[in-house]
C-alpha cells in the first residue's frame, strides 16, 4: 500500500532564506497526523508544496504514490487542502461553492448527497443558501473547510483550521473529522493548539526553522520528553543545586519540575528536606505536548 504522503528531501529557498532544509516524512494511509511548530517553522510552505501552490527547490512529494509535480492531476484529486487564510468567493452561496468545487474535480450531481453530509457535519445546513459574503467569520471558516472536502479526498490537510474559531465549531469540526478518519481518510493537521493535537493525533511531527526536530507517536513523545510534571509551592527560597537540572520553570515561588518517573519525586522531596525547605503546596500532573514542544522548540523561538 502506498503511503498517503511521502516527502523526500524537500528543500525550499526564497531568495537567501532557506525555508525548508531537507524534509523527509512519510505518513501512512489512515493516520491522523499533527504537524506542529512555531510561526515561520515552514509548516505552511511544506503544505503549499504538497498542494502544488509552491514549487520545491529540490526533493519530491507524492500523494498515494502520485508525484505532486509530474502527476499533479492524480495527486490533487486525492488531496483536500484547507487553506490557512480565510478566503471566499463573494459571488456565490455556500452550496453553489461546494458544487463548483466538486465539479472542478469532475464530480457532478451524484456528489450532492455528500455535499449535504458535509453541510450537516459542519453545521452549515441552514446557511447553505446564504451568500459567502454574508457569513460570519466562524461560518466562513466552516465553508472553507467544507470546500476542501467537497470532492471527498482520501487525504485531508487542515492548515490551522481552528485559528480564531469558537469552542462549538472546534468540537463539531473534530467530531466530523474524526468520523472521516475512522472511515479511512488520512488527516494531516497543523495547529497551534497543542491539546488538540494531543487529543486527536496518533503521531506528531514537530518542525523548527525548516527542519523536523521530532517525529514519533504522541504517546512516545510524551514519555520521552517528560513523564510527569511536579509543581511545588516553596516560596522565595534558593533551590538546591542538585535540583536545577529537573527544574522546568519558576514563577513567584512556584517551581515546576519535569520528571521522567515517579521515583524522582522522592529524590526531589528528600533534597528539599535536606535543604530545610518547606513544601507549601504540591501538584502532580501528566506532561502534555506543550511541554514536549517547549523543550524542543520553545526556548529558541
Amino acid at each position: 500500500m502506498n503511503p498517503a504522503i511521502k516527502i523526500n528531501g524537500i528543500h525550499k529557498n526564497f531568495g537567501s532564506l532557506h525555508a525548508l532544509k531537507g524534509i523527509d516524512l512519510t505518513i501512512e494511509q489512515g493516520e491522523f497526523f499533527a504537524l506542529l511548530g512555531p510561526n515561520g517553522a515552514g509548516k505552511s510552505t511544506l503544505i503549499s508544496i504538497l498542494a502544488g501552490l509552491i514549487k520545491p527547490s529540490s526533493g519530491d512529494i507524492s500523494v498515494m504514490g502520485f508525484d505532486v509535480v509530474n502527476q499533479y492531476q492524480q495527486a490533487r484529486q486525492l488531496l483536500g487542502v484547507v487553506p490557512q487564510e480565510l478566503v471566499f468567493d463573494p459571488f456565490f452561496n455556500v452550496r453553489e461553492m461546494l458544487r463548483f468545487q466538486a465539479g472542478y474535480f469532475g464530480r457532478g450531481p451524484e456528489n450532492d448527497a455528500w455535499v449535504d453530509e458535509i453541510l450537516e457535519g459542519l453545521g452549515l445546513a441552514d446557511k447553505a443558501n446564504t451568500n459567502m459574503r454574508k457569513l460570519s467569520g466562524g461560518m466562513k471558516r466552516r465553508a472553507l473547510i467544507a470546500q476542501a472536502l467537497a470532492h471527498k479526498p482520501a487525504v485531508i490537510v487542515l492548515d490551522e483550521p481552528t485559528a480564531g474559531v469558537d469552542v462549538e465549531l472546534r468540537q463539531m469540526l473534530w467530531q466530523f473529522i474524526k468520523k472521516l478518519n475512522i472511515e479511512g481518510h488520512t488527516i494531516i493537521l497543523t495547529t497551534h493548539y497543542l491539546e488538540e493535537a494531543e487529543a486527536l493525533c496518533s503521531r506528531v511531527g514537530m518542525m523548527k526553522q525548516g527542519e523536523i526536530v521530532a517525529l514519533d507517536s504522541t504517546a512516545n513523545l510524551l514519555n520521552k520528553f517528560a513523564g510527569k510534571k511536579l509543581r511545588l509551592t516553596l516560596g522565595g527560597v534558593a533551590l538546591p543545586a542538585s535540583l536545577q537540572s529537573l527544574l522546568r520553570s519558576q514563577d513567584n515561588g512556584i517551581f515546576t519540575f519535569a520528571l521522567s518517573d515517579m521515583e524522582q519525586i522522592e529524590f526531589v522531596l528528600s533534597a528539599l528536606r535536606a535543604a530545610n525547605i518547606k513544601v507549601l503546596d504540591m501538584h502532580l500532573s501528566e506532561a502534555d505536548l506543550e511541554d514536549v514542544f517547549l523543550s524542543l522548540v520553545g526556548k529558541a523561538s
Partner: protein, 271 residues
C-alpha cells in the same frame, strides 16, 4: 499510472481518470454566472455607454466626417461601437475575474484542483468570448430601434466578433495574471486598451486621416478587428477582410501561446 490500492473504506475513491469534461465546464459555468449575477454592471452598463456614444457622436459628427460613399455616418458608427464594446468587455471579463480572485485570494480554490493549464485557459477564454458576444448582441438589438442596420455578410461579422473577443479575452488573462493590484490593472485598461480601441477607426474611416496617422493606425491590431467587423456589415472597408482575418487570427495564436506558457510555468500564480 500507478496502481493504487483501494482504501479500507469503500466510499473513498483513489482511482482517477481525469476530471473529464466536467472540470473545465464547471469553471466556465462559474465564470459565466460571475458576470451574469452582476449583469447590470457587466452587460447593461456597456450597452448604455455604447448608446450614449452613438447618440452624441451621431448628432455631433453626422455630415462632418467623411466615411464610405453612400453610408450614412450613424450607420457607419454602429458596427464600430459594437465591436469596441465586444473587445473591451471580453478583456474586462477575464482580467477582472482573475485580478479579483487574486486579490481576494480565492483563486486558490481553482489552483488546488486537477484542472490543467489548458483547461483553465479554455474556461476563462470561453467566458470572455461569451460576455463579449452577449454585450455586442445587446447593443445590436437596441441600436436596431434607432437605425435600420443591414448586415451584408453575417458570417464575417460573427468570425470577427469571435476572433476579436478571443484575442482580447486572452489579453485579459495575461493582464490578470501579470497584475498584482487593481491600480496595475487600471493602467492596463487606461494606457493600452482604451487608446488602442479609440484610435482604431471606430469613429472615423482611416482614409480620412493624414498619411502618417494612417500608417500608424495600420500597426494597431484593433484597427483590423473593427475594420473586418464593419466589412461584414457594409461589404466594404479600409483593407481587405482576409488581411484583417489573418492578422487577427495570428495575433490570437501568438497571445494564446504566450498565455499557455505563462499558465504552464505557474508564472505569478504558483510560487
Amino acid at each position: 499510472m500507478n496502481n493504487v490500492k483501494e482504501s479500507n473504506s469503500a466510499n473513498i475513491s483513489t482511482s482517477f481518470s481525469g476530471t473529464g469534461f466536467r472540470g473545465p465546464w464547471t469553471l466556465l459555468k462559474k465564470e459565466l454566472l460571475r458576470f451574469w449575477r452582476v449583469a447590470f454592471q457587466t452587460v447593461a452598463a456597456p450597452v448604455i455607454t455604447a448608446l450614449l456614444y452613438l447618440l452624441i457622436f451621431a448628432h455631433v459628427l453626422a455630415g462632418h466626417v467623411q466615411v464610405y460613399n453612400g453610408v450614412p455616418y450613424t450607420e457607419f458608427l454602429i458596427p464600430g461601437l459594437i465591436m469596441m464594446s465586444v473587445l473591451q468587455n471580453a478583456f474586462a471579463n477575464s482580467s477582472s475575474s482573475l485580478i479579483q480572485s487574486k486579490v481576494m485570494g480565492n483563486l486558490v480554490f481553482v489552483l488546488l484542483t486537477p484542472l490543467t493549464h489548458f483547461q483553465f485557459f479554455v474556461a476563462f477564454l470561453c467566458a470572455a468570448i461569451i460576455r463579449g458576444l452577449v454585450v455586442g448582441l445587446c447593443i445590436y438589438l437596441v441600436a436596431m430601434w434607432f437605425v435600420d442596420i443591414h448586415i451584408a455578410n453575417p458570417l464575417l461579422v460573427f468570425a470577427f466578433a469571435l476572433l476579436g473577443s478571443a484575442l482580447l479575452g486572452t489579453f485579459g488573462i495575461i493582464a490578470g495574471i501579470w497584475a498584482d493590484r487593481f491600480d496595475q490593472m487600471a493602467a492596463f485598461q487606461n494606457f493600452i486598451i482604451m487608446p488602442l480601441s479609440f484610435l482604431s477607426g471606430v469613429f472615423y474611416s482611416i482614409h480620412s486621416l493624414p498619411s502618417f496617422w494612417q500608417k500608424l493606425s495600420q500597426l494597431n491590431p484593433f484597427f483590423y478587428m473593427i475594420d473586418g467587423f464593419r466589412y461584414g456589415f457594409f461589404g466594404k472597408g479600409d483593407v481587405s477582410p482576409l488581411t484583417s482575418l489573418c492578422i487577427v487570427g495570428l495575433s490570437f495564436l501568438v497571445l494564446a501561446m504566450i498565455t499557455l506558457k505563462m499558465l504552464k510555468s505557474g508564472y505569478k500564480l504558483r510560487a
